[in-house]
């Protein structure tokens, strides 16, 4: 018997999204618990899916019981089961966090906010779980539309940033659709597994080459891969805290997932490696992304914008791992999908909490913050160390595999980029940490000055998610070997 969990994990948030409207109409306060219930159920379903995949192998779920390639099929293998768990868990954590932040930032929009929030999550999950090219497009649009709306309701510059995002996002989605069309014209199929079988005979066809190019550009726009990242910094800076915390970890990672899926399970790896030098180009773009993101981040005075540029650089790591096109590199890339989700989650949650308490996020305004919000800042430090790549945080281990992959591939330039980027991140984060922790102007005459500034920690509903994310960073670091041996090594395409 096929388990129902793959479809449940998408449908549950969908149904609950519909439910938030009538219930929210009746009692505004019900939206938050409804969202939590929906996402918890979805998370449980994703856990069940992952468990099933680990124990019995790939799940094929035929929607409406129409056999593929005629009907739509959900294919859940180790790769997307892994990403599903990440997506549903991160969104659950953000949902827990959202309560106070939304009440403060968007008091009159609560009902619609949670509805769109759930749709966003449903869209992301739908992208990840599907095995059909066109179905992916539909859910991509659900996620994108929800994303545009959520970003547009942020602070002053938000609608304009969101409009830019909409333009680029639509170009990306249209290119993707065009790619689907080209593949359809040359094969007659929309099913990924079916395409995987048919395509090798057509690798010389110019239609397929162009389709591939459109896929890469389209997905590159969605995952904000340098130099297609232009929409990202503005959008994630001006979006409401909760939304940044939801989209920054997930949207780009889901994009990265789609890229891996298309490159290695719709097309065959040798197509991207030998027939056309996609992976090489991707590697260099990624190297550019890593350096560009870090350097631009250095130029920022706004903490949230700095994080947005760091995100650009982090996306580069994933792309670099894919571009290395060997087992270690891909392991690193997939591991980084997990690690970076949690790092970005923690960082954006922390910024949201700081905003909530002080309304400030200029780096120079962070003074004394370690006394007012000790736990939040501790979480920030741990996340920062993880981005830098200090063991035993999880960021170190993805770097480990990426460097391993780069050495295996004898790509010394990439090794250098990875190492240098660590150092740039040190400068980036210690600049912030110095501001928050050290107080050079002050006279330290009395030991009693510690008590002068009272603790004003974020409310518990925000603090707990932050601590969960931070704990995740530490735990995934220590458990990385375990995660790789149970999931990721099967998620890497077999021919590597």
């Amino acid at each position: 018997m096929t388990p129902q969990s793959p479809v449940l994990l998408v449908v549950i948030p969908l149904i609950f999204a519909f439910l938030t409207l009538p219930f929210g109409w009746w009692r505004k306060g019900l939206c938050y618990p409804i969202t939590l219930v929906a996402l918890s159920l979805s998370f449980l379903a994703s856990l069940h899916t992952l468990h099933t995949v680990i124990t019995t192998g790939t799940i094929h779920y035929w929607l409406g019981n129409w056999e593929p390639p005629w009907g739509i099929e959900y294919v859940v293998d180790h790769l997307n089961a892994f990403v599903l768990v990440i997506v549903s868990f991160v969104s659950l954590v953000v949902a827990i966090y959202s309560k106070r932040s939304v009440e403060q930032e968007l008091p009159e929009k609560i009902v619609f906010f949670y509805c769109v929030f759930l749709l966003q999550v449903a869209g992301l999950l739908g992208i990840v779980v599907t095995g059909d090219m066109f179905n992916l497009y539909v859910f991509l649009e659900i996620a994108s539309l929800a994303g545009y709306a959520l970003i547009a309701i942020g602070e002053d510059g938000a609608p304009f940033a969101s409009f830019n995002y909409l333009i680029f996002g639509t170009i990306g989605a249209c290119f993707y659709l065009l790619g689907v069309g080209y593949l359809y014209v040359s094969t007659g199929s929309l099913n990924m597994a079916d395409l995987f079988q048919i395509l090798p005979d057509l690798y010389q066809s110019k239609v397929v080459l162009v389709a591939f190019a459109f896929f890469m550009v389209g997905v590159g726009l969605k995952m904000a891969l340098f130099p297609l990242h232009v929409w990202l910094p503005d959008a994630y800076t001006y979006a409401p805290s909760t939304v940044s915390a939801l989209l920054a970890p997930l949207m780009t990672k889901v994009g990265a997932y789609v890229m891996i899926r298309i490159m290695f399970t719709v097309f065959k790896p040798q197509f991207c490696i030998e027939l056309i030098p996609v992976t090489t180009i991707l590697g260099w773009m990624a190297a550019g992304a890593i350096l560009f993101g870090a350097v631009m981040a250095l130029a920022q005075t706004d903490l949230k914008r700095m994080l947005a540029y760091i995100l650009v650089s982090e996306v580069g790591y994933i792309a670099l791992g894919v571009g290395l096109a060997n087992r270690a590199g891909l392991t690193g890339a997939i591991l980084h999908i997990l690690n970076d989700s949690f790092m970005m989650l923690a960082l954006f949650l922390v910024v949201g909490a700081i905003m909530y308490r002080s309304g400030k996020r200029e780096i120079s305004q962070l003074r004394y913050l370690h006394r007012r919000m000790p736990f939040t800042m501790a979480a920030f430090v741990i996340a920062a160390l993880s981005v830098i790549g200090i063991p035993p945080t999880c960021g170190f281990f993805s770097k480990w595999y990426l460097i391993l992959g780069a050495i295996d591939a004898s790509q010394w330039a990439f090794v250098a980029v990875l190492l240098v980027s660590s150092l740039l991140n040190v400068i980036l984060f210690f600049r912030v940490i110095e501001h928050a922790y050290l107080e050079p102007d002050e006279e330290h005459a009395g030991g009693g000055s510690e008590l002068a500034i009272t603790i004003e920690e974020a409310p518990l509903s925000m603090l707990v998610p932050i601590l969960i994310a931070t704990a995740g960073i530490m735990v995934f670091g220590v458990l990385s070997g375990k995660i790789i041996s149970t999931v990721i090594q099967f998620a890497v395409p077999k021919c590597f």
């Binding site: 200090i390 035993p392 170190f396 190492l419 210690f430």
Partner: protein
């Protein structure tokens, strides 16, 4: 070699980690309780560490694997003689340092004391992890934790100088970290394993140019913390830190971790045979000898007491590396033992510098005239420490230098013997004036002629470490067969040859 599964090394690491958490949650409001945790944990840790001595002396190895990190490499502790030697040294000196610290921070009414003790505990936890690490990756993980947890200690004063010192420290050590990481991953791609093995595991792997390159990277990387010249720049700058931190940095945790890393690389990764084949040992020895001489000259030129001590540290660390590079039984024994003896002696010297600062707020050597009359115990301890560093019998520095000298002869390299002698002369040259002036010179300005020592919390530890230096000089095997640990480690490494 018999291997025993034992959780003790993990406990030794964890106990300080838990201690650190207890310190944070106790906080500023309950100072005495917080300090109680510090001392309790340091004593507990010491007990755990010495409980491993009997096993290791019998030639057994205690091992504990926590979790697999990546294929063929685990987060693993393995306690052998060399690691245990370092572990005993660090945990013993931590007790002294924590008592001393309490006296120091209370004497000066320092700010952010909780952070200070927290990071101190974290540092020690990391140091213990380094000592007991069973493979390069585990070592590296704790090495980086040590780097990060030391940063707040260096920048503790939060003055412009302190922040710059902190930045410099981070820049040097993290760049080094990156270099080491690269080399480690490279070794992993060559061999698929990173487990330490007495006598090395790289023999016969990879091309000689690659290996030379890797060796250079690793020595440069670990050499930063070990303050080998020209990567020493951060160390004198880091002297802005509170004195107990300097004591910890210089005698125990950071620089010794660097030297420990170097020795692990030389003796347990590359191994004597490979280094002989590649002729790297001689180059390394010359490199270290260069540092020995130059740092000695620098030390002569310093007026700030702590900076002079800093350069003296650089000098002694280079001697340790030089000894290890000679790869003879005597030299290795001497260099391992010198890690310990230098630890006890140098911590005494720093304790003295701190005690002087707390009592008189003086930092410069030229101001110390006649201080011996005011603080005889303190300056007496200083005399023992200083003479020990110079290698005067019967203080423990003599024994290590004796073995090092023997090692030079065994390796038939008289030039290094000369270097040793010159450095001993320089030690005398930069320490003797201090001792003489403080006891016999009549001060320019009136100084308190009465006995007026620093707080007991500070004097007691420094006297104890001085006395231990003396005892170790007379009975090198006193306290848990200290010397035996060093000599058996050396024997085991060379057993493979």
């Amino acid at each position: 070699m018999e291997t025993i599964e034992s959780i003790r090394p993990l406990l030794a690491v964890l106990v300080t980690l838990i201690g650190a958490l207890l310190i944070v949650f106790t906080g500023e409001r309950h100072r005495n309780l917080r300090e109680f945790w510090t001392i309790l944990v340091s004593v507990l840790k010491f007990v755990i560490v010495i409980s491993m001595v009997p096993f290791v002396l019998e030639g057994r190895v205690l091992e504990y694997t926590i979790i697999t990190l990546t294929q063929g490499v685990s987060l693993q502790f393995r306690v052998d003689q060399f690691g245990l030697f370092f572990g005993v040294l660090a945990s013993a000196l931590w007790i002294a340092t924590s008592i001393y610290s309490i006296g120091y921070v209370r004497g000066l009414n320092e700010h952010a004391q909780t952070r200070y003790f927290f990071n101190f505990a974290l540092c020690l936890s990391a140091t213990m992890g380094i000592a007991f690490a069973g493979n390069l990756l585990t070592l590296f993980i704790f090495y980086e934790i040590l780097t990060v947890s030391t940063y707040p200690l260096v920048a503790h004063k939060e003055t412009e100088d302190a922040i710059m010192g902190g930045r410099k420290y981070l820049a040097y050590t993290l760049i080094a970290g990156v270099v080491i990481l690269f080399a480690i991953i490279f070794i992993y791609t060559l061999t698929g394993t990173l487990d330490f093995k007495p006598g090395g595991f790289l023999l016969g792997r990879g091309q000689s140019t690659t290996l030379i390159f890797l060796f250079a990277l690793l020595i440069l990387g670990f050499g930063v913390k070990a303050a080998l010249m020209p990567m020493h720049e951060w160390l004198p700058t880091a002297m802005v830190a509170p004195t107990p931190v300097s004591a910890l940095l210089h005698a125990v945790a950071v620089v010794k971790a660097g030297v420990f890393g170097c020795l692990r690389i030389i003796l347990y990764v590359f191994g004597p045979e490979l280094l002989h084949n590649l002729d790297l040992w001689l180059i390394l020895a010359y490199f270290a000898a260069f540092t020995v001489i130059v740092s000695g000259m620098y030390a002569l030129a310093q007026d700030n007491l702590k900076r002079r001590l800093a350069f003296s540290t650089i000098n002694n660390l280079a001697i340790i590396v030089m000894g290890a590079a000679l790869l003879t039984p005597g030299a290795i024994t001497g260099s391992i033992f010198h890690m310990g003896s230098h630890g006890f002696m140098k911590i005494t010297l720093f304790f003295v510098a701190g005690a002087i600062y707390v009592k008189t707020h003086k930092e410069n050597i030229s101001e110390l005239d006649g201080l011996g009359r005011q603080m005889p115990l303190t300056m007496g301890a200083f005399t023992i420490g200083a003479m020990g560093v110079a290698g005067t019998p019967p203080i423990c520095g003599f024994i290590s230098k004796w073995y090092l000298a023997m090692g030079c002869l065994e390796a038939k390299q008289v030039i290094f013997l000369l270097v040793l002698l010159i450095s001993a002369l320089m030690d005398v040259a930069y320490f003797f004036p201090i001792i003489y002036n403080s006891f016999f010179k009549i001060p320019k300005e009136a100084i308190n002629p009465h006995l007026d020592e620093a707080p007991a919390m500070m004097v007691v530890p420094l006297v104890i470490t001085a006395v231990i230096s003396l005892i170790l000089g007379i009975f090198p095997n006193a306290f848990f067969h200290f010397f035996n640990l060093a000599s058996t480690a050396a024997a085991k490494i060379l057993g493979g040859m």
